[in-house]
Amino acid sequence: MASARVGLEPRLEQSRIPGALPATEQALRKKFLEESQLVPGGDRISRCLQCGTCTGSCPVSYAMDISPRMVIALFRAGQIEEILRSRTIWICASCYMCTTRCPQGIKITDLLYALKRTAMGTGLYPDRLPVYALSKNFVRVVNRYGRNHEMLLLLLYYLRRNPLALFRLLPLGFAMWKRGRISLFPAKIEGIQTIRQMLAASKALEMPREKEEVPYVEGTVGYRAVG
């Protein structure tokens, strides 16, 4: 899964010019803004007051290395890479408490999803913590069968993350199986073909969406332009 790392030499030309972002960061920022702009209301991130209601409301913020409020602060400070390297975005269980309570109406949960997509797209993950594998395998199972298959998903995930944990799950798995709550084999839906067609079409859509950059020409803006 060696997706291309974004950018050039990290942290090389950094801090030459005060206030300028390193190239890696600029690329990440571009990707994240593309992802978050598609979320309706995603631009409200700029309204953040740094009040901390999100962190206070989050049932799992105590286990995060970067709190939800700090995520927004770091984004503003131009340190998206640090966010992606933290386990924060993968710990979010998406209970939407922060989104519900945010006084500025920032869709924090959806922005965390946008950050997850940024991480998936750029291959930047927290070190030694392959939790993103769960989402990846989920997508694999759904794309293949059209539905999720709990056992297959857990099997794929634990084989990647921690095969020994499977033994720990055996008694529970057996109890569930005895009660008819586990199906052993996944079944395909009839219309899997339509899903395949949709997936193929989405690949074609994935063309780089370039924002047209207007070069700065002296004398076209400001007082000089109007004379």
Partner: protein
């Protein structure tokens, strides 16, 4: 009062086929008793849950919109999604497509590749919402065969059926389920964590974090004298039920509290048998004091 029998399309979702089987069985039983027809959506697919969204937005919305498009073809009045994740994802799909023309055109394009189209006419409903608002507490109380008097329950709504947008109930302190069961004679105990997160898929990713959340919920319910916890979501039910032993061991407690789906408790009141409600499939046993019959 009712003219025609009510009819809904039913979207079971992946969980209700396997680990949430008792939810599926009890839901069908309850709706049968109340005379509401459930037509299963033909060839439905996964809604994308909380995880597809983290990989690709447009395709995850398109996959979930495929279900809505199929429902629309059936000309349905309401699509019932009992799983909290399905419910919230399908609602979110509707809302995103309404709010963002850019996403809508993308998703339309993807759906067209599969020979489908969607015009945003499907209403996504949670069974609790249908029972409380369409059927009505009065009708349910009239149909009840047994009284739930003596049942003290902790009403656990979980996070995703009431959030992020305001749906059929309050986002932090919903009361619909409390009122429905109190009308049938049960007592809802003080349970301030009723919409707190159960950990969801964290149980696989970060078990320690999830066990902590599960412990808080079980502790709050037992401390307040609940005999059972009533859930509305397949994932909450499994998390609260299957990890009681591990939570007990880790936090030095001895939890042994039945965790039921709200449709199971409702089914008991409506006179369904335990097998019909899939009670034998639960990992915990619930012995309800249900002797008294309603006149």
């Amino acid at each position: 009062m009712r003219e025609a029998p009510m009819e809904y399309l039913y979207y079971p979702g992946c969980s209700l086929e396997t680990s949430g089987k008792p939810y599926d069985e009890s839901l069908r039983a309850v709706f049968r008793v109340l005379g509401i027809e459930l037509k299963t959506l033909k060839d439905w697919n996964c809604c994308g849950a909380t995880m597809y969204m983290s990989v690709d937005e447009a395709i995850s919305l398109a996959i979930s919109a495929r279900n809505l498009a199929l429902a629309e073809q059936n000309g349905c009045r309401g699509l019932i999604a009992p799983c909290s994740a399905c419910y919230t994802v399908l609602l979110k799909t509707n809302r995103f497509l309404k709010d963002s023309p850019e996403l809508k055109s993308k998703v339309d394009h993807l759906l067209a590749q599969g020979g489908l189209s969607y015009n945003l006419t499907v209403q996504v409903r949670h069974p609790l919402d249908v029972l409380v608002n369409d059927v009505g507490g009065e009708t349910i109380a009239r149909a009840a065969k047994r009284s739930l008097a003596g049942v003290c329950f902790a009403p656990y709504y979980g996070c995703q059926i009431v959030r992020p947008e305001r749906g059929f109930d309050d986002r932090e302190f919903p009361m619909t389920m409390d009122r429905m069961f109190e009308r049938l004679g049960a007592t809802s105990v003080y349970f301030p964590l009723k919409t707190r997160c159960c950990g969801g898929m964290l149980m696989t990713k970060f078990p320690d974090v999830a066990l902590n959340l599960v412990n808080e919920l079980l502790d709050c319910a037992t401390e307040n004298g609940a005999q059972c916890i009533i859930t509305t979501c397949p994932l909450c039910q499994v998390n609260l039920e299957a990890y009681q032993k591990r939570a007990s061991k880790k936090f030095g407690k001895s939890y042994d509290i039945p965790v039921l789906y709200f449709t199971q408790l409702l089914g008991l009141a409506l006179g369904c048998s335990e097998t019909e409600l899939g009670m034998q499939r639960n990992l915990t046993t619930f012995k309800a004091p249900l002797a008294a019959a309603v006149a």
